[in-house]
Symmetry: C2
Subunit: 324 residues, 2 copies
Amino acid sequence: MEKRYIGIDLGGTNIKAGVVTETGSIVSKASVATGSGPHQVVERMIHAAQQAVAEGHLQMRDIESVGIASPGPLSSEQGIVIRSANLPGWHNVPVRDMISQALNRPAFLENDAKSAAYGEFTAGAGADEKITNFILITLGTGVGGGIIYHGRLIRGVSDSAAEIGHMIVNPDGEVCGCGQRGCLELYASASRTGKYAQHLLAIAPSRSSSLRALLEAGVSIGSREVAEHAKMGDELADEVWDRACRYLALACVNAARWLDPQMLALAGGMAGAGDFLLERVKKHFATLNWKMTETKMEIVLATLGNDAGMIGAAALARDAHQQR
Amino acid sequence: MEKRYIGIDLGGTNIKAGVVTETGSIVSKASVATGSGPHQVVERMIHAAQQAVAEGHLQMRDIESVGIASPGPLSSEQGIVIRSANLPGWHNVPVRDMISQALNRPAFLENDAKSAAYGEFTAGAGADEKITNFILITLGTGVGGGIIYHGRLIRGVSDSAAEIGHMIVNPDGEVCGCGQRGCLELYASASRTGKYAQHLLAIAPSRSSSLRALLEAGVSIGSREVAEHAKMGDELADEVWDRACRYLALACVNAARWLDPQMLALAGGMAGAGDFLLERVKKHFATLNWKMTETKMEIVLATLGNDAGMIGAAALARDAHQQR
């Protein structure tokens, strides 16, 4: 009988919880609205975990331990969410111990993007025993990531490693919410890709684009619309998509230079475009990358979709003894 | 009695060899001219090692094993130097086994900058048991580096991790010898810093600078001259120095984002300027770095000077059993 773990993924809109086997298969899952304020949100996380267990016709005693994926900054060692842009009112919330006590199971807390990276590494795109060094880049509202080296998650000394969205890629670029200039997140997130299209439409009112009709109809332009219209041959949409993919490729080059992993996977909203993202990123990578030696890093799409954080959190709970 | 190891540092001009104790103290050392061609160079490496042992009034049987620091690309696993810009005519030279057989001792091969990083980590700037995650950036003719995570050297899957000089810091910058555009090495190496000063003097013949007299006297302007004249208040020299330090600070920010280490040390020719380098880099770092959380990474000067590679190679030989 395989051992079972709970993975909880705390998002700004929904909380997802799942019972996951030791080999990364989902037994059952549940989803609830996030709510607001630490007290309510933690209550709902507990409820989602209990619901997932019930869905699987299991008891809490069938569960070994619980992994929690949360936005940060947080301290995985202390089990505390320090604060979060997506969770107003949170300040040093001891989420791990609150959940551990309520469920009477050991619990572990990790950053959401790092959890997703560990999920893809153990049960998704990187789930191959030949792959020991792996990087995930998540392209959503922001850009996040995780690094696995020699099979272990790289946390850094203050849980701040792999802040891939805050790599400076353009030293004279615009100011990011983090206080830096020219962060990758400003050029390659799903939300910024949509905004850049809107910007180009606004500054050149006479430029024709199939996206303009959407904008005039009051549709919000996101990365999905940009990708769809670029695929259909719209020049403005293609310019926007191409810029995002070029910056992503630049991040991939720097990833190879820093860490030289076997694989780098792309996930999140932008990755919904599938091969239209992957092939464009690879094309720019081939141009931007050095010619000194062959780069062995394979660039791929992530495979677990929205379950990556939940599966990764469960896998981190499973491997907690070896993780620090 | 402490165990003893040999560290050999293969440079483009000289080969240095030293007998180093298990705690990183140098017992004795020797230096010979590098020579040319794999056969002669390896002969001289062997000779340097024997000379260092003789200098220490020791026998080869007093030595546990031998570490070799070499320019790359190389394969540490196979013990082969694939080729090197500074070693013409080298192609897949099995340096490790040649030296191991000649000295009748186990030998280990590692990249020179990674060896220097391990030297500084174990016996130099990072030699503090509280420091487990450490980055070295070497600022010489090129820019190199090494990363230590959880006490272990990060090699990557093709010995190409920590190629810090080939981080792209300016995507629209000039072309680097490696085939990329805008590599850090083009803006922050000792040699490029001198060349940039010469460039500024050449494009503005009427601009006054105390460096101009040097140039007219046929003196080659390097990073040392730039630092000296900047210290004395020369505006052009200061502009050049400041640009190099700003790009270095940018690399430091990205180092913190990727790996979140406790310490980052600066070494090599540029670091000869001491606090004049360090303080300027720290100043730009404070401006460029994010304001999200406190960055715990301390930026310091390396302390082992030219012995870092030799000491690091010896330490890698000591720790070879735990290194892969």
